[in-house]
Symmetry: C2
């Protein structure tokens, strides 16, 4: 069993008071001094609830900066809210800390979490801090609001809809690989700064919450790209009972990914199936595409049409310039076989 | 990094489909087939939100039965809802599974979770399943409802209020000790079946959700006893800005704890500070004590008055039969020094 330390005011209380109470500004949090948060749900809105955990050695590298770990833990959840068209409301935090986790980790971690909470309008509402003999593990339940009945679901895509994606795809998966094997920087002929760019894309998602309202207005179905574009598009198609054809050449790439792919064409599989993109994948009826694109431009979010929805039962194909289907060993990331 | 396996439908999808979709009967869960749950909050109610994690080797023993682990993970959260006077609504589940966690664990785990979800009216709304190179870790965010403004807080205790506690105290802490050192069974002179009783009390909390409505009606302040009665009473006093004096001899004990304490009087410290009781500690104005007691009797929940609230700034004293204050090395459990 873990070491048990005791005192009049417990170590856990002190840890929470020092690092996390300053974050608890929402009235529902009750200053983190009760067993539970108490939220008055806004009238006329549904509550969108999502939970995602990140584990050292699985979702981030153990020596990633504490601030990056904090941002990743919160942002993977913010990305789900964005894709559902929801406005962030707040979050519950579970922190399982390995032995000897001290102020060197907790100070920058809590500071980055506070910054993101402020930036994204998503304050901490409550939490639980515990010891673990294992790796640092952070689970966040995040809540958002949508007008009643207006959450954008994975189902809802219709034949004829355009398949669109924000930002660029594949950077995080390439970033993970190049951070694990430094020699790839040369093999891929990356230019100065491109390795750092890719690694940063792995470490710190940039969720598209500024686009949430437009997604709600214009998308027929949406999800965030977390487990790989190919697999996630297949999931959306299965949920909607449709098929999709997407053109690999239309998938938006960063300059770094473009160079790597030109050097090593087989990297297309890493790019399309690697995951950790935290971009929004959505389907949009052609009649709304112009307005959606205008909204994305206004929000400063790159938006690209990569394919089209057809009739079917869940198939999602990526085709090359000659209209031949790409084949992957696996279409999406999974922790389990 | 963890082993990554891939396929058309990912291993994680299959795992969720097989073990957890059958649990997802609440409409908000969307059959666990979307990125998020979508809850329509009931009108006129506040949402009570709590989160607690359990980690193998910290909150339960790695060889505890999977069904017990499931029950503990959910019930420690149900206990918070009960103490806040909230009616359970549903929960989000994070499961971090060590390598080779298979059907032998997951089948009884999911079955017990489903049973408890049914029994307590607290269905799964969503979740996240991930791999971990560390110990089995389960984090649950649970939600409940109270009529607007009616959540019972830790603050609210007034001088003159009675201090009351449900059930019996100390069994779980004794159960943990005797399950770690078998020789204690003889040393404590436990009778046949009492060791098993104590170990069961450690493994499987019995949250007092049947008493939630009465707590809301009659208690001025409440919390669940998770980190030890002495420390938790001090927390309640600090939150309320009052003091408390409780009589150690009035603390309700099971027959097993009574025998152990008679044999080893110093076990009073384990009993009062060991934690894992998951009983309700509350304060009740004397004018409402009779009705509260009647409600507890009707619900079949033992309820005992152990002390009284006075003026002060957060002190909580336990006194012996001669009115001398007991002194403990530490008053409550903490994972951190």
């Amino acid at each position: 069993m873990a070491k048990r330390g005791r005192s009049q005011e417990s170590g856990e209380d002190r840890l929470i008071a020092r690092y996390f109470k300053p974050l608890a500004r929402h009235p529902a949090a009750l200053g983190l001094s009760d067993d539970a948060a108490c939220l008055k749900p806004p009238k006329g809105y549904d509550l969108v609830m999502t939970v995602d955990a990140v584990v050292a050695g699985v979702h981030f590298l153990p020596d990633d900066p504490p601030a990056s770990i904090a941002r990743k833990a919160l942002r993977v959840n913010l990305s789900d809210l964005a894709a559902k068209g929801a406005k962030p409301l707040g979050f519950l935090l579970t922190l399982a800390l390995p032995p000897h986790t001290g102020t060197k980790f907790l100070t920058p971690f809590a500071r980055a979490l506070a910054q993101d909470a402020q930036t994204f309008g998503c304050p901490v509402l409550g939490g639980d801090t515990t010891a673990t003999p294992g790796p640092l593990t952070i689970s966040i339940s995040a809540f958002g609001t949508v007008p009643q009945g207006k959450m954008v679901q994975r189902k809802g895509a219709r034949p004829g809809d355009l398949v669109m994606v924000t930002g660029t795809i594949g950077d995080a998966a390439l970033g993970l690989r190049v951070s694990q094997r430094a020699s790839l920087e040369k093999q891929w002929r990356l230019k100065r700064g491109q390795r750092a760019f890719l690694v940063d894309r792995y470490r710190e998602p940039r969720p598209r919450n500024v686009l949430a309202l437009a997604v709600r207005r214009y998308a027929s179905a949406a999800m965030d790209v977390s487990d790989g574009l190919a697999g996630d598009l297949a999931k959306l198609c299965r949920a909607s009972g449709v098929s999709a054809v997407a053109e690999a050449a239309q998938v938006p790439l960063s300059p770094a990914a473009t160079i790597a792919l030109a050097t090593r064409p087989d990297l297309i599989e890493t790019i399309l199936t690697g995951g950790d993109d935290y971009e929004i994948l959505c389907t949009v009826p052609p009649s709304r595409a112009t307005r959606f694109t205008a909204a994305a431009t206004a929000a400063g979010v790159p938006l690209t049409t990569i394919g089209r929805i057809g009739r079917g039962q869940g198939e999602a194909r990526f085709v090359d310039a000659d209209d031949r289907a790409l084949r992957f060993g696996r279409v999406s990331f999974s922790h389990f076989g």
